[in-house]
């Protein structure tokens, strides 16, 4: 069966100029959303969710640790995805997005490791163990840092972006390793408390707090990534007519 092949138009709509205008309108709302969800999430995490029967108050670290760990993995996949699209289709906006995501992904990875260490010390009696989950998450941090170092070392974006994309794509293999590490190996790190197939093994109020702080982290990630993407657009497209046209309006 043959279909009439219409020219692919997605990328014209994903032109940097369109993205710049749209993200500019979305940003105030995203920052507000991050603040409101963060406030509600912290209230729920500290004042509504009860003390954990076995871990005491130390368990409250999970309301930042778990969202940070989730985002560290998801942002990596998003970064590799956009880097690949940018490489394969020479889509400028996709490459810019990959570059904009990397620092935020590295930040959430670092936060997952720091909060994990701060939880590990009182709970396991050690800041760090060479456990499969912890080690693979540390490798994720190195992948982010390696990507950033690589793309910053090559000045010309047309050469830096494909090189970064290759590194990002090879590194994707680490994501399932992190995710399944607690099942594949005997890890000190506990298994998942929440799964798609079974009822969550935590109190309803704890789950709500986790949901709120996760959504807050998402809103924050979108806001800060969009801000960085807008800076990158201006830096890269400064000679284009539409960026020159921005000069008139004082922002």
């Amino acid at each position: 069966m043959t279909r009439p092949t219409a020219p692919v138009r997605w990328f014209t709509f994903a032109a940097p100029s369109r993205f710049y205008a749209l993200s500019g309108r979305l940003l105030p709302g995203l920052w507000l959303l991050a603040a409101v969800l963060g406030g509600l999430g912290l209230y729920q995490a500290f004042f509504v969710a009860p003390t954990d029967a076995t871990q005491g108050e130390a368990y409250r670290i999970l309301f930042i640790h778990v969202p940070a760990a989730w985002l560290s993995m998801l942002l990596y996949v998003a970064m590799a995805f956009w880097a690949a699209i940018g490489w394969a289709y020479k889509a400028r906006m996709a490459s810019i997005l990959a570059r904009a995501i990397a620092p935020t992904g590295a930040l959430f990875t670092a936060l997952a490791l720091i909060s994990g260490a701060l939880w590990g010390q009182p709970t396991w009696g050690s800041w760090w163990v060479w456990d499969a989950r912890l080690t693979s998450e540390l490798i994720l941090l190195f992948l982010y840092l390696g990507y950033l170092a690589l793309v910053h070392a090559i000045e010309d974006p047309h050469r830096a972006d494909p090189a970064g994309a290759l590194l990002a794509l090879v590194g994707v293999i680490n994501i399932p390793i992190i995710y399944f590490s607690v099942r594949w190996w005997n890890t000190l790190h506990q298994g998942a408390s929440i799964s798609m197939t079974a009822a969550p093994r935590m109190a309803e109020t704890m789950l709500q707090a986790l949901l709120l702080t996760t959504l807050a982290c998402w809103a924050y990630a979108f806001a800060v990534i969009f801000t960085r993407a807008r800076a990158l657009i201006l830096e890269r497209e400064q000679d284009s007519a539409w960026v020159q046209a921005l000069k008139g309006e004082r922002i």
Binding site: L42, P103, Q238
Partner: protein, 54 residues
Amino acid sequence: MNWHSSTDFFQMGGYGLYVWGSYGAALLLGLSETLLARRRHAKALNTLQEDTDL
């Protein structure tokens, strides 16, 4: 209600250092990143304005 007093709240059942350390790190990293990203955008805009004056 989980806490009887503000001291109670800050002590976090003896885990204060670890709990507040985690949230403090999150706040510090988040604020710094926000500041850096916004500054980068402002700088790009400024460079653009300066070019006009040439």
